[in-house]
Symmetry: C2
DNA sequence: TCGCTTGTACGATATTATTCGAACAATAGC
DNA sequence: GCTATTGTTCGAATAATATCGTACAAGCGA
């Protein structure tokens, strides 16, 4: 599994950010990560196949929302809170409040 | 032209809101409406065909972002600022700041 | 009423997303 | 090295969106 290509936060376009949030499955992931700080991919599937989850995590990564780092055999995911706050001040907090 | 079906603000789902913001053309519209208070559809086409613009305005309307009222032969559009503030506190402001 | 303007509705096409199975890669532990 | 675990990647099918031409509806003014 190895390392991922996370975009530089400055390169994240607003439309990509919003697109990442336009799917209920991904909102669920973001909601979970907001509470739990970090989580592996497997703990977040709602019975969905691995390949589907992998897809959603990729979208979130490429939109700059989620940082994924290898941790042994699993992958730990977390929100890029500080960086997003720099890039879009107040936005992530408002999003998290909106999605509960 | 006549009246439109705007959703009740309580019925607007976050994913619909974000999906509406996931397109560059619609972001342009929102940006413009943030500055100008209100505008007709025609003043916002960037040379794009009317039917394309109509589609985008519809998406924005159905996501609860834009209110459209007939004004003679044209349609005046405006952001549903107060209502959105009630529904998603702080979100629209953060979005407008993010998209410049 | 006729003509002009603004935007919607419909329909077709093209592009993009989502979903998921199956095969593969990387790591940990034995 | 072998095996089990965790995700990724690929490919294909399906679904959802975007784009735009054409036809239509509604209001305004002469």
């Amino acid at each position: 599994m190895r390392s991922y290509k996370h975009p530089a936060i400055e390169d994240v376009r607003p439309e990509d950010f919003f697109h990442a949030l336009s799917d209920p499955v991904r909102l669920e992931i973001v909601r979970h990560l907001a509470r739990e700080q970090e989580a592996s991919c497997a703990t977040l599937d709602g019975g969905r196949p691995k390949s589907s989850m992998s897809h959603h995590f990729r979208v979130l990564r490429e939109a700059g929302l989620v940082y994924t780092k290898p941790a042994g055999v699993t992958h730990m995911n977390s929100l890029r809170r500080e960086e997003l706050e720099r890039r879009f001040p107040g936005l992530l907090d408002a999003v998290l409040a909106a999605i509960g």
